[in-house]
Structure formats: structure tokens, C-alpha cells
Amino acid sequence: MSGQFIVAIVGGLQQGSTIVLIAMGLVLAFRATETFSFAHGQMMVLPAFIASALQTSGASLAASLAVALAASTGLAVAFQILVLQKTINQPVFVGTIATLGFAAILNGILGAAFPGDRNYELHIPGMPDQLIELYGARIRVSVLVVAIASLLIAAGVYAILRWTHLGVKLTAVGQDALVASQGGIRVRRLHALTWGIVAILAACAGVAQAATSGVGSSSAALGLLAFPALILGGLTSIEGTIVAGLLIGVLQQFVSSYVGGDKVDLVTYVVLLMVIMVRPDGVFGIKNVSRA
């Protein structure tokens, strides 16, 4: 096996693990409020920017991450309570458009607070920066660390959703809010909580992205590049999302390493169109897509 192949595989799994975190957030947001969240990229980048700015001004990593997480989670929950809950009973597209508005606001905040002419970095102490040899390929250890950490977080969230009382309640609300509310579940509170978890997942993805390729507003595009994984995974299935996210990540790395970095967007979105055309309910999803 050639070195390029190994690098593409490992890099792809790392990219894929970040996409898994993003797509899990998108799935949760979709299950809770039936909105495609177009603000996810901004929700990724915002905490990374805040954390790096605080760190540059002298705060410790833990403190800056905590502040950043609190800020972005608070914003997301406030958005859910103040805006998305008002879109119930309105046409279905209103919630999705609200996330577009939210994205525009966050974009504006990012642009005003963190002008593009400065460099931002998130320095993670203890992150190894040496290279290792793997089947003849030289790979940065930090890439492996970030990939494993992301997958552990994803597995943790999966475990919470699958085996805890809270997770079962979240699933119930996602499947049928009305029935769940009759079972004594506080639907609104859980929806707000879901958006909190969505924000935390987005922040994790943003930090993972920042740790491997720096802090930049261009990372927000990754929030949109994860949509093929969301649809391929079947919109509602967490397991499917994990597999699909890794697949899409590997595909993107292979395209960028063998075909050219400028074709990553093209291939990813062609895949999205193809999935919508051929398997709109994804590979792992419950078959509940109805054709109009």
C-alpha cells in the first residue's frame, strides 16, 4: 500500500470523525424540531473563536473552553426557546429559515468580533506534534488523537441516547411529540435541552477542527458539507450517521488527495444530490420518507 493511500485513509477517518459529530448534531436538531440546521457551521466556529481569543488573552484552555461552551450553548438554547418554539403551527419551512437567520446573525457576530486580518489559533497543551510511521506513511499523531477523541465523544452521546432515561425520553419526543407529551414528558423542555446538546456537539466538532487545521471562519462550510452524511445516514438514525459520516470523510480526503482539493465540494454535493435521487431515506434510516 502506498503512503498516499494510508495518509488519505487516516486523514479521512479524522475528517469523518468530525463530520460524525456535526451530523449527529444535525440529526438531533432534525429529530427534535424537524429543522435542517443551517446554523450548525457557525455554532461550530463560534466557540472555537471565543476559546482561542480567551486563550490568547491569557486564560487557561479549560477556562476558555468552558466560557466558550457556555456562551454557544446559551445562544442555541435561547434560539430554540425564543424562536423555534414560535414556529410550531407555522408552515414546515419556517423553522429551517429561522436557522438561516440565526446563521446570518452568528456570521455577522463572527465577522464583527473576529476580523479576518488576524490569525487565531487554539493551542492545546499536551497535544503531541511528532510524526509516526504507519505502513510507510508519515502521520501526525495529533490527527489520530483528535480522531479517537471525536469518536469517543460520538460514542458517548450515542450511549446516552441509547441507554439512559434521558436518551429514551429524547427519542420518544423525536418520534412523536404528542404521544410523548401524553406520557408526561415535558416536550418543550426536552426540545430546548436537545438544542443544548446540539450546541455542545457543534462545539466539540469546532474544537476538533481547530486542533487539526486552525481556527478559521471557513470551517463553517464544514457544517454544510456534512449534509450528505445526514441524508445517507437516514436523517433519524444515529448509528447510520456514524457510518455515513466516516464514509463521507474518507471520500472527501480521497478526492482531495487523488483528484484535487478544489473538487471536494463538487464531489460531496454531487453525492448529496445522488443520495436524494436514489435513496432519500438513506441507507440506515427508517423508511418513513413518503413520496409526494
Binding site: 419551512f93 429559515i97 438561516l100 437567520g101 463572527l110 473538487k263 463538487l266 444530490l273 432519500p280 420518507v289
Partner: protein, 359 residues
């Protein structure tokens, strides 16, 4: 406020009937007032405003075409498209390609319009088979796919600066040229208004309206909603493509950088701000979204030192229309035209008790 919200709950139903209740239901009855307002506004702007403001007014009129198309799609088919920017780009670049290949201007515009319509078929065909908001994702995909190809074309044809052409109608000088454009675009927008009104009034509009209200019933009646959804999407794509094909002849430049995702979202903002219940809603939205960013530096200049103001203006205008979208969503069921619906001119002259039954 409470009453407003309750009325808003059945916003879709209200919009179908209220439009009729407020004015005439015939096509000409709905287009004439809007068209008259527009023509008077153009006459006023052309005679009084300076060249900068005429340019801004023309830009807003251009945006009206895209906004009316998107409003038709969202208002009748209930679908969101993030593809305005992509279809504009298809129209602009195919038109440029055709005129560079030697086609005369009208033929180039026609080719561009048809190409944008065909792109609409390609994107709409898979996405509109399925219920839900898949069109939003498909048009998102289309945006980046189109962006890739036009970037490649621009790189191979002229390089990263973009195309520079002599604007049409430039013989009479800059001022005169922009006045001509203002009148041309007024005609185009009035034609679009008439087209939208005719489509909403025609079979397609009624079928889609019925389908939005009673999805299962319409299926039982054997209505093939996919055909109508696709038709409205293709028509709106073609209109946006026409707008795109005209744009370079107005501004004199054409570059990939114009067609960002933010532009597509700005069009959605126009619809959310203007609303779709009234035929004039998208026009109002287009004017608000186009003109607002130009006011922000002035407002800002009053508070901040000039240097910072220039940097802050673009992000602040983004925040402003993000906030406007959200305010419209939470406070009105249908943007500004939804708010206007509760303004009842009759009640200004007759006591409120007398008009209660009529509205």
C-alpha cells in the same frame, strides 16, 4: 399582540382568502395597484434621484425579479430554495458564454433563461418527488456544483478578475443609461407581477393552494402535485436565470464572487421580510434587503469613527437581516404583508363596530 398571534396560526389559510377580501381577485385587479405604485416610484426616482440612488433603485428592481420568483415557489408550493444565487449564476454565465460565442443579445438572453430552467429541472426532479424540505438541500448542493463549474469557466476564459463588458445602453452617458435601465426593469418587474398573479390565479396556483391545505385529500382526488411543484420551480428558476442574464449588461462586470451563499440567503430574507400573502410582499422585501446595507454605514458613521465603520458595515448588515428574519418569523405570520393585513383602511373612516363583520 395575543390576538395577532392567534390570527397568525392559520396564516396559510388566511392568506388565500384575505388577499381576495382586501382587493380584487382578478389578475388585473391585483397587478394594477402594485404596477401603478411601481411606475410612479420609478418616475419619481428617475426625475429626482442622483445617479447613485438610481443605481441602487435599479439593483432593487433586479432583486424584485428573484424575490417574486422565490415568493411564488414558497407561497404556492411551500418549498424553500437556497438556489437563487446558483440560478442567477447559470443565467449570467450561460448568457455571457452565448454572447461571446457570437449570438445576438436577445438570443443570448433566451438561451440563458432556458438553461436556468433546465438546471431547475435537474435539481427539482429528484427533490420534489419527496415530501419535506429536500429541495432546500438539493438547491444547496446545486449552489456549490454550479459555483465549481462557473469558477472553472471564468478561470479558463478571462482569469480571476471576471468579465468586463460595455454595459448596454451606455451611449447616452452614465446617468441616462441608468434611467433607461430603471424603466426597463420596471417593465420586467411588472411583467413578473402579472405572471405571478396569473399563475396563482390559474389552475396551478389553485391546485398547489389546495394541496398545501389538504395534502391527503388532494392525493385522493388524483392530483399529481409533483408536476405542479416542478413546474413552479422550473418557471421560477427560468425567471431568476433571466434576471441573471441581464445583470452583467447593467453593471458591466461579471464575476464568480457575486454569487455567494449569502446572496441566496438574502433572497430568502426578502421573502420572510416582505411576505407572500400579498403580491407586493416580495417587492417590499427586496427593497428592504437591498437598501438596508447601504444605510448601515451612514447610521454607523454617526456613532463610530469612520475607519471602523467601513469594516463593521458588512457584518452588521448581516446581523440586521438575520434579526429581521427572526423578528418576522416570531412576530408576524407573513412578513410585512402579514402585518399590513391587519391594517384595515375602512376602520379609519367607519367606527370599529361597523367593520368588525367585514374583516
Amino acid at each position: 399582540m395575543k390576538g395577532l398571534r392567534l390570527r397568525g396560526q392559520d396564516g396559510a389559510t388566511a392568506s388565500v382568502f384575505k388577499d381576495g377580501a382586501l382587493g380584487s381577485t382578478t389578475v388585473s385587479g391585483r397587478v394594477l395597484p402594485a404596477g401603478t405604485v411601481l411606475v410612479l416610484a420609478t418616475a419619481f426616482v428617475v426625475t429626482t434621484a442622483d445617479s447613485n440612488n438610481v443605481y441602487l433603485y435599479c439593483t432593487a428592481l433586479f432583486a424584485c425579479v428573484g424575490a417574486l420568483s422565490l415568493g411564488l415557489l414558497m407561497g404556492t408550493a411551500g418549498q424553500v430554495s437556497i438556489g437563487n444565487s446558483a440560478f442567477l449564476a447559470v443565467g449570467a454565465f450561460v448568457g455571457m458564454w452565448a454572447s461571446r460565442a457570437g449570438l445576438p443579445l436577445p438570443a443570448a438572453l433566451l438561451v440563458a433563461t432556458v438553461a436556468a430552467g433546465l438546471a431547475g429541472v435537474l435539481v427539482g426532479l429528484p427533490a420534489l418527488r419527496i415530501q419535506g424540505l429536500y429541495l432546500a438541500l438539493a438547491t444547496l448542493a446545486a449552489h456549490f456544483i454550479v459555483l465549481y463549474f462557473i469558477t472553472e469557466y471564468q478561470k479558463s476564459a478571462v482569469g480571476s478578475v471576471g468579465f468586463l463588458i460595455t454595459p448596454a445602453l451606455s451611449s447616452g452617458g452614465l446617468d441616462q443609461q441608468q434611467r433607461y435601465w430603471a424603466w426597463i426593469m420596471t417593465a420586467v418587474v411588472v411583467a413578473c407581477l402579472a405572471g405571478v398573479a396569473a399563475l396563482q390565479r390559474g389552475k396551478m396556483g389553485r391546485v398547489l393552494g389546495f394541496m398545501k391545505e389538504h395534502e391527503h385529500v388532494s392525493a385522493c382526488l388524483g392530483i399529481d402535485s409533483r408536476r405542479y411543484k416542478l413546474l413552479v420551480f422550473v418557471l421560477s428558476s427560468a425567471a431568476i436565470g433571466f434576471q441573471g442574464s441581464l445583470m452583467p449588461y447593467f453593471s458591466g462586470t461579471l464575476s464568480v464572487d457575486t454569487f455567494s451563499l449569502d446572496l441566496a440567503i438574502a433572497y430568502i430574507a426578502m421573502i420572510m421580510i416582505g411576505g407572500t400573502g400579498n403580491i407586493f410582499g416580495p417587492v417590499i422585501g427586496a427593497f428592504v434587503v437591498v437598501i438596508m446595507p447601504t444605510l448601515i454605514p451612514d447610521v454607523l458613521g454617526a456613532f463610530v469613527v469612520n475607519d471602523r465603520a467601513a469594516n463593521l458595515a458588512p457584518p452588521l448588515s448581516q446581523i440586521a437581516y438575520g434579526v429581521l428574519i427572526i423578528v418576522m418569523i416570531t412576530r408576524s405570520s407573513d412578513g410585512i404583508s402579514g402585518m399590513l393585513r391587519y391594517v384595515n383602511p375602512q376602520s379609519w373612516f367607519i367606527s370599529s363596530r361597523a367593520t368588525k363583520g367585514s374583516n
